[in-house]
Symmetry: C2
Subunit: 267 residues, 2 copies
């Protein structure tokens, strides 16, 4: 998907909501557990209940891989089920030497046909570049993450007096453009969002950490948006586990709608 298509979707749906499909087979409603493919069945219900309210889905690879080949099959069916008009993100946090990153890029962009993949920056340029070679596909590079461990290395002050995440966001702009490179910026750091917007004016940010992790939605939008909105705000657990009964998808829709309505004023 191109940047323009993504922005058009955000404008027409008045939403920058990304729904994280962190589908844990232990946590899905009881009545779905009897189906042939409970993980896919659950995702299908979530997608049906929310597809007009969000602009992106983000399956978290760990949850699918933990079920082995069966889990990857559920993932495959999930991606096939999502309309091409919705942006899809493989939340995989990959990154390896060039020939290996190339294999990961093929996995996510060719085999599964995701629009984007999250990539960890520690291994530098040649671990990121292979993902940037696919047209209309995206790298979403970790900048500041939403977890407490983001303090351990991302915030380390470097000799140029800037924190490490700052170097990551600056340097990687030499490798990709706002047309194929986004950054992960955790919602748990709203003040930093503002500073990061200064050094990456046109790039989209994928913002996790609203909801279960405690980030404030409206603070995130105010601090992070640019003139194209420029944000994909993710909520996973708060939405997908909003209900647990036979009508769980109604609770899921209500929660997603509630978030989308808060976004509408800004999108």
């Amino acid at each position: 998907m191109t940047r323009k298509e993504l922005i058009d979707n955000i404008r027409s749906k008045r939403s920058c909501l990304c729904i994280g499909l962190d589908t844990d087979i232990q946590k899905i409603p009881q009545h779905l557990k009897k189906s042939n493919d409970p993980v896919f069945e659950f995702n299908k219900h979530i997608i049906d209940a929310t597809k007009d309210l969000c602009v992106a889905y983000k399956p978290n690879l760990a949850f699918y891989e933990s079920l082995g080949p069966t889990g990857l099959r559920s993932l495959e069916k999930t991606i096939d089920y999502i309309s091409d008009e919705i942006f899809t993100i493989a939340d995989a946090k990959r990154g390896d030497i060039g020939n290996t990153s190339k294999m990961y890029a093929r996995t996510f962009f060719e085999y599964f046909d995701f629009d984007a993949v999250t990539v960890a920056p520690y291994m530098g340029k040649d671990s990121v570049a292979p993902f940037l070679e696919f047209s209309n596909k995206w790298v979403i590079l970790l900048g500041i993450t939403s977890n407490s461990g983001s303090n351990d290395f991302q915030m380390i002050t470097c000799a140029d007096n800037k924190p490490l995440y700052h170097s990551v966001i600056e340097k990687s702009q030499l490798w990709g453009s706002p047309e194929n490179l986004m950054f992960v910026v955790g919602a748990t750091h709203p003040k930093k969002l503002n500073q990061i917007r200064e050094i990456a004016k046109d790039h989209f940010f994928l913002v996790p950490g609203v909801g279960a992790q405690g980030g404030d939605l409206e603070a995130v939008i105010r601090c992070g948006k640019n003139e194209d909105v420029g944000l994909l705000i993710n909520s996973s657990r708060e939405i997908i586990y909003a209900g647990s009964g036979l009508d769980f998808q109604d609770e899921v829709r209500k929660k997603a709608e509630n978030i989308q309505q808060k976004m509408a004023a800004y999108c």
Copy 2:
């Protein structure tokens, strides 16, 4: 596997060789491509030809994932085929927020039953800790990698005048011990190996980059070993693609034997 068992294996085999199973279906010998599961068939031949010469196998997840569920099935069969006496490493470079890292840990330590997994440090303590909670299982944390991109962030000088990789290796020693935490230190930085041995005296190092990537085996051993050897030296492409004909496994064995013999004097 415990540290003691690993060291005993190194001593009895006089080898610290780890063979990387970066099995690319495009590169395997023609005659195996007709089998039901060419990737597993190839791995089986490699394992049969080398199991007395190496102490570890390291499948690279990217190569299996690129084939979708079928690839994970080949991986599963490969791990089951490797004797419990040989250390197995999932080269996966994972790392995510706590609840996701926990799912990855279950994937590699429970579903596949690997002994170790490579983990990227960028997301800090709570992205690494869930992997350290499994007994007799190992985290192999990226310190300095063997690729050119290691210069981009790993070598950045931090405010304490130390490079970032130094902080990673020092700080993470508060989270794990030499009994469950190793570091990746690329063979392409032999002088740094020496310095890193100073700050991580008892930890094992997984050393990639010998062979196809140009690292010098004997320099690595001299600079990196400790009194327990403390090294797993990986070779992937150089060994597994040593031959391509009907007798490829003979070439593979010859290459592995050649490396093991150089190691014998030190192990």
